[in-house]
Amino acid sequence: MKNKNRVVMDAEAIDRSLTRVAYEILEKNKGLDDLVLIGIRTGGICLANRIQRKIAAMEGIKVPLGILDVTLYRDDLLRTNKKPRIGKTDITFSLDNRKVVLVDDVLFTGRTIRAAMDALIDFGRPRLIQLAVLIDRGHRELPIRADFVGKNLPSSLWEDVSVNLTEKDGVDEVVIEMDTEE
């Protein structure tokens, strides 16, 4: 079967979306007081870094940034023998009374975000948790929605949405891939 990959966002589109998301985070939170960013491993880390830089460029302040690996909180972990590699979680500041913005690349079933919220609450009691994603592709299986969305991308279940980022993939683009396995 032919490979039907479709690029739906290029580097410029991604950058513009992240700029808007950064502005919206500032607007909704009325500034930077107590604001922290938590990037979800692995795609969310690069995006959180970029949002941090954009906020710094606008406000001159570098908001604290942490890294969260949600693997140990996943609900499907013991259902398969394939154990994902565990990455490091690195949150060096207290989350108590902070406004936490979780950052991830794609919002899909919502299960990753459920796991991330459980993990965050083990680290403290944030004042609130908000969610920023580059792509919302729908098909939620839990009552979860994003506060900041780069692009809504209605997709079918047999498509894969990949967010490629220069830091880890050498190029900035969002691609829809048809699942050609079957």
Partner: protein, 307 residues
């Protein structure tokens, strides 16, 4: 890369990639033990039995803490308070435990090969926590984790292992592991404590401490097993200490940034002087901290679903 085995019985049968997977996973688990809430829900509903036929503080506690930090239920059984004193055989004990459906059995036994026998008999994952003078794989893994954290690598290091090599499962597991990872291993001790065929494991042998630690990146001192003194393998503790105690006098022969390790429990003044055990080269307590992370990694990697 996944760990495709049911049991962890020894370092000998692990591949380099498997060792690296375990160490990388363990590195990521370190952080959990530094949190206020030192617990993740990963192994909720799993049961781990620690079956210890030999005395242990560190290893048993370490396995218990590792299980609890992953939310598993851990149960400790020691030979002295179990049906073993009523004459039940190891296999019968294991079959009975198996009937209660645990997920992992951690076993320490004075007989080499006891965990291997159990692994073939029960469906649960077996982790060897020390079998006779054979292997102690989790100790070697935590030692390698500690070395890698401090030195940044496991290859091309000069490692000296000093003491009762013949009776040491720690030495055997470390020799297998460190050779596999590409380091050079030298062993030293009184002639009665050096197994005759040890060269076949690819190590250098010295009969003097000074020779063995010359230029060493890492020195591992082994515990002199006082309970074996009646075997007449050395004349007196004092004589042993005079020849093989690591102290200020001889440590300067090693590299300036040498790491001093000991699997514990230490006999102060016998194999290691107090100022060295508590001094700047010593990573003895890092070993203990890393031990919890290594055991968490193994429990995580071994317990899975049916798919």
């Amino acid at each position: 890369m996944i760990l495709e085995r049911k049991d962890i019985l020894g370092i000998k049968e692990l591949s380099m990639d498997e060792i690296l997977l375990i160490l990388d996973t363990a590195d990521s688990f370190i952080e959990i033990s530094t949190r206020d809430i030192k617990k993740v829900p990963t192994l909720r509903g799993k049961t781990i039995i620690n079956l210890f036929y030999e005395a242990s503080t560190r290893t048993r506690t370490s396995f218990e803490i590792a299980g609890k930090r992953l939310s598993a239920d851990t149960i400790n059984i020691s030979a002295s308070t179990s049906s073993v004193v009523k004459g039940e055989t190891l296999l019968d004990t294991a079959r009975n435990l198996e009937a209660m459906n645990p997920d992992v059995i951690v076993i320490r036994h004075s007989a080499a090969g006891a965990p291997h026998m159990l692994a073939g008999m029960v469906k649960q994952s077996i982790i060897n926590a020390g079998d006779g003078a054979h292997e102690h794989p989790t100790q070697a893994l935590l030692d390698m984790m500690t070395i890698r954290a401090k030195k940044g690598r496991l290859e091309n290091l000069n490692i000296a292992i000093v003491g009762d090599i013949a009776h040491s499962r720690v030495a055997r597991s470390n020799i297998y592991g460190l050779k596999k990872m590409g380091s050079q291993v030298t062993v030293a001790g009184p002639a009665t404590m050096i197994p005759r065929d040890i060269e076949q494991m690819g190590v250098n042998v010295h009969s003097s401490l000074d020779e063995a630690i010359k230029g060493a990146d890492v020195i591992m001192m082994l515990r002199i097993q006082l309970e074996r003194q009646h075997l007449n393998i050395f004349p007196s503790l004092r004589e042993y200490a005079q020849r093989f105690c690591l102290s200020k006098k001889n440590i300067s022969l090693a590299k300036k940034d040498v790491l001093v390790m000991h699997p514990g429990p230490i006999n102060r003044g016998v194999e290691i002087s107090p100022d060295i055990a508590d001094g700047p080269y010593s990573v003895i307590l890092d070993q203990v901290t890393n031990g919890v992370a290594v055991r968490m990694a193994l429990l995580y990697l071994l317990t899975g679903g049916k798919a």
